[in-house]
Symmetry: C2
Subunit: 420 residues, 2 copies
Amino acid sequence: MSKTNRENGAAEIISIGDELLIGQVINSNASWMGEHLFMYGIPLRRVTTIGDSVSELHQALDEALGRVQFVFLTGGLGPTSDDITKPALCSYFDVSLVYNRQAYEQVEALFARRGMRVTERNMQQAYLPSNCTAIENSNGTAPGMWFEQDDAVIVSMPGVPFEMKPMLLEKVIPEILRRFSTSKFLFKTVMTMGVGESMLADRIKEWENALPAGFKLAYLPQPGIVRLRIGGQSDNVESLQNQINELVQSLCKLIPEYVYGFDNEMPEEALGKILVSNGLTISTAESCTGGYLSHLFTSIPGSSRYFVGSVVAYDNMVKEKVLGVSGESLELEGAVSEVVAKQMATGVRNLLGTDLAIATTGIAGPDGGSPEKPVGTVWIAIAGEAFVIAERFQLGEHRERNIRRAALTAFNMLRSVLKQ
Amino acid sequence: MSKTNRENGAAEIISIGDELLIGQVINSNASWMGEHLFMYGIPLRRVTTIGDSVSELHQALDEALGRVQFVFLTGGLGPTSDDITKPALCSYFDVSLVYNRQAYEQVEALFARRGMRVTERNMQQAYLPSNCTAIENSNGTAPGMWFEQDDAVIVSMPGVPFEMKPMLLEKVIPEILRRFSTSKFLFKTVMTMGVGESMLADRIKEWENALPAGFKLAYLPQPGIVRLRIGGQSDNVESLQNQINELVQSLCKLIPEYVYGFDNEMPEEALGKILVSNGLTISTAESCTGGYLSHLFTSIPGSSRYFVGSVVAYDNMVKEKVLGVSGESLELEGAVSEVVAKQMATGVRNLLGTDLAIATTGIAGPDGGSPEKPVGTVWIAIAGEAFVIAERFQLGEHRERNIRRAALTAFNMLRSVLKQ
């Protein structure tokens, strides 16, 4: 391997596994790793995905070590014979597998916690290439492996995301920073909803351009949500923390109507906390969202403290019979109308005796649209003790996305109500 | 580029874009392409993901063309300046951009369909490297590009999945097969549920081992579902189609209790068809699934023909007041019990006047478990005109997965009922 032209401080990933090449598994590990390496100032230059082949791995390692200082391998570490990473690393470094007591004790401790005894096959996992340091795997039996050669670091980790992620975050990145960097890194993520990436960028352009040296902003969009991650790098952790806090505060002041939480909190989780702290209960009456709003609320552990129930009134008969929507309103205004949305919200609120209620009624598509109410037309209503409000939205053309956007729009309306 | 050691008929992918390396976007294109190339007998040997860098692309191209015959590039084709693929390909082949009339007419036709006129910026997209053939993009303005050199083929496609996928399937793969292969490929996917991959493999082992030459089976697992794809390759399409049909029939006979559909149909879609064809309506009463079952039913266009509505009875009060579950049963047996599941199913069936009803009640976790009813305990009931059945299941430890598995288990029970 050549050290010429090698970029110190930069990284590459080699993802190993036939299942990645024939499309059985999406390589989500690599993008997760890229996101977190970037956070800690370790730029990722390339991801190479190869099958379960010793010669391919040797070739990919040679190439990567000619280009960067840190090479991260994932996959191929299971106890079965098609997992080639360990033998391939032995032949690459020209070493043998030796019994690693530390690795054995870690596997033994994991099995003890699960009330099981170590099997012969798992015992094999304590044999590691003689030139590596074992990295503890807190969620599985295959230890990670840390190799060093010519100032380069090669780290081999399991491919199971549940095992790889804590290993990278808690063991590998801290060790790299400790050994190869004097800087500290800190981050805070501001969660926004109800606004697109480009409009956000316009609103905070000046703030972003005025970011002090060593700080950066990343836009991380998800369906219906944009995460804004502010990261900073410094030798002094305390002043860094203060600076990040100040930047977050000044950012939030620019876009208060869109910020709903921090650090990857989902809207349904943030709303749940507000409901709990105000001692409020909620119910939903769903037509176009068809139970999705209720599903999001109940996906949060402990949601039974505030979420009482939902009536999915898909058929108009259910709107009339269970929620008490008037047949006249349905006939005159149609199911997708302000009056029906409001009657649904007050109806479910009365039926289930909750403090608040949300109702949705709309045309998710692909059929059912008309010139006055095209596909994507949605009415959302919120009812409380002394009020009921409703708003009309025009979403898109795709059923799945319309359902998702209607639910997020309803959350956004609820957030406005709860802030008042 | 070297032709030594090149594997003819094999492919590599080069995915281009900074957003892939910093984790803003997951490289799902590569796995989708890998799955479809594999289907058509074009083995994918490597995926290389690089940033928006001309020199990186040149290097990756050199390397890939030394190893395989077909190199597929995705990304970097937009009209903005950070999209480097076109200039990088010009310098790689030492050619210039020239006006491509065919490409211009395609862009013009696309804009005409959308009732828009071509802008100056989009006009630029009709300038292509002089040595390429334009590939029509039916869903966007950036044409694909087909290059040939030393018996190798280099194809550049947009990174937007919605544009790339039809281009690969409808233009690129057919042209490769036409030019470089005499074989025809056909596939059929058998959809199974209610069984794991390894148990399936045991059940069909002999059938799989007896597959005729030129045929192969792929296991494609998704949460709660295993897809079995049978593919064959032959010079004679008609006999190939007959053979595939026969293999599918003999496979289905081995595992009739698990097969619910074909060709990527979801369970909620397959069940919807059975309900429609039998003229049956259905409703749900959900506790632990919290609206997810209803959400899956209503995610299918046209589900209003058979899905009437749902009562999400998260709080026991809703079970009593809306569904008519007896307070005594709730007190004596608890909400997670056979009697309550059955009363929920009959209750919602009576309330909404449907032919069939499903009820779920269980402990999704992480809290709420007990020694007799640990987290993951779920009762599912189905009620019809003259019957109500219920079954207890022990699912896992994770809330999100328990909700998903409970819904799929309910679908599986419904399927058994509908088959009788």
